[in-house]
Symmetry: C2
Subunit: 290 residues, 2 copies
């Protein structure tokens, strides 16, 4: 009897068998996901018809996001091109002629939005260590670094994140020059440029482009540039044409379980478990709902 | 007089102005570099004529490196193909038919070489933290993790590192199936597969390939596969055709200065300095000497 009770206690205390990421995601419910708002979505159509979908992050860069939205609504991006593809670093697009006038009502220089108050955000920390910031975690599915002592939070340069190219000064940015990270996370760029979003679909259309052979990976001839037919806000597309995506909510038991599956892979192929996943190795799950 | 002495003391104690990576490399001497040995070099020629050069790491995986050399000398790799390109992860090549017999004298299964004794290596640590290992640094320019308490060292899955694909068991590897890392460092693979080298030239020929649309990024049709004309050891090529590369020696003042430039970027464009570079963000410099 006593032995049975002890066995029952041991069984109750035994950790749950490890699960795979696929198993954790399969066990989520609709409430574990949030829809990407059409007004926070950019749909980029390449000249070859390929589509890249970006979620914008107005909570972190409201002024830049608003300006990018204004540029999209003015069709300012239509006919620009991808001009730079630097291996293990970034794909960058903008007006190669640097002569296209900004539409009325937009600002010629934007003040940096490199960090914001931590207050007001639901920050779900993940286990460190992280050499770049005192704390790391997720806010609404965004990979975020934080400094609690100073009350600050900022987006981080993980794979597929979107930043706003700038010139030599902090405010030399218009939102008309954007880049996507296509390599090992260049966290050295954190708090040097304004991050505004993340590619949630079609990153492979950017990451597989031929690398530029000029300095910094710029294409050396106009013929190499990759045309962009248009960039539109999701909310400016007819409802039937809007992409529909959902992002796993962070700060939930499901997200915490997912993070744990990244640190310790349960697939039987793994012999050595890492007991750790760095911030950019976690990658917030996204799913299409159409 | 006293003031002058104090001033001189202050000047002597002042830290050197930060330098850029380019400045540090420009100040190196010939002795700061080591040549890549022809017998530790693989030259892969793609069907389109593109060349990819790999340095092998016999100090970490002597048996695998010897077998890969035997396969190359037997021309076993000629006519195989790249069969898998998974975005932000790996490019993998091998015999898509899985029917090509191994040449005489090679082993059908190789015991894992996932780690080795730290003893006998010149380990140059770099500042942490690192969530995956107790210590990190470089050995002869290789990115290495170490556990001093257990006296072990292992190669890490940084961008462009080359690993040996295996089946479900630890010894289900022949050296005939290889992959290169083309995304954010998948350190969860460390000590689960044998790493045998690093692409030192031409990684962009692999990283820019179209992504496979099948499970795990495998190409779904034979037509999508990318042919490999040949893979040869550098030492088996005519001397005039051998690529010549040098790697910055680690464990030297020049390498330490280079690491420091990765942690704190001196270029005036940077406003916020990270004071840190993670192991895979450091990337050992390589230069062509022909």
């Amino acid at each position: 009897m006593r032995r049975l009770a002890l066995l029952a206690l041991l069984l109750a205390a035994a950790p749950a068998p490890p699960r795979t990421s696929a198993e954790v995601l399969a066990a989520t419910t609709a409430a574990d996901w949030r829809a990407v708002a059409p007004e926070a979505m950019l749909v980029m159509t390449l000249a070859d018809g390929g589509r890249v979908v970006i979620e914008l992050a107005p909570a972190f860069a409201p002024v830049h996001v608003a300006q990018i939205g204004a540029l999209a609504r003015a069709h300012w991006f239509d006919g620009i091109s991808i001009n730079r593809v630097q291996d293990n670093y970034v794909v960058q697009w903008g007006d190669a002629t640097e002569s296209r006038p900004l539409p009325p009502g937009t600002a010629p220089r934007l003040q940096p939005e490199w960090q914001r108050p931590l207050r007001g955000l639901t920050f779900a920390p993940v286990p460190g260590p992280d050499g770049y910031a005192p704390a790391i975690g997720f806010v609404d599915g965004w990979p975020v670094a934080a400094d609690r002592a100073r009350g600050l939070a900022w987006l981080t340069h993980c794979y597929a994140m979107i930043g706003v190219g700038r010139g030599d000064t902090a405010d030399a940015a218009t939102g008309g020059e954007l880049y996507a990270v296509i390599g090992h996370a260049p966290r050295n760029l954190d708090r040097n440029v304004t991050l505004v979003g993340r590619v949630i679909d079609g990153i492979e259309r950017l990451s597989s482009l031929p690398r530029g052979t000029g300095a910094l990976g710029f294409y050396e001839t106009a013929a190499e540039r990759v045309g962009i037919a248009s960039i539109r806000l999701g909310s400016d597309l007819p409802i039937a044409e809007r992409p529909r995506f959902e992002v796993l909510r962070s700060g939930t038991p499901a997200f915490a379980a997912y993070v744990a599956t990244r640190a310790d892979r349960a697939e039987p192929w793994y012999v050595t478990r890492a007991h750790h996943a760095d911030l950019c190795a976690i990658r917030t799950p996204v799913r299409s709902t159409r």
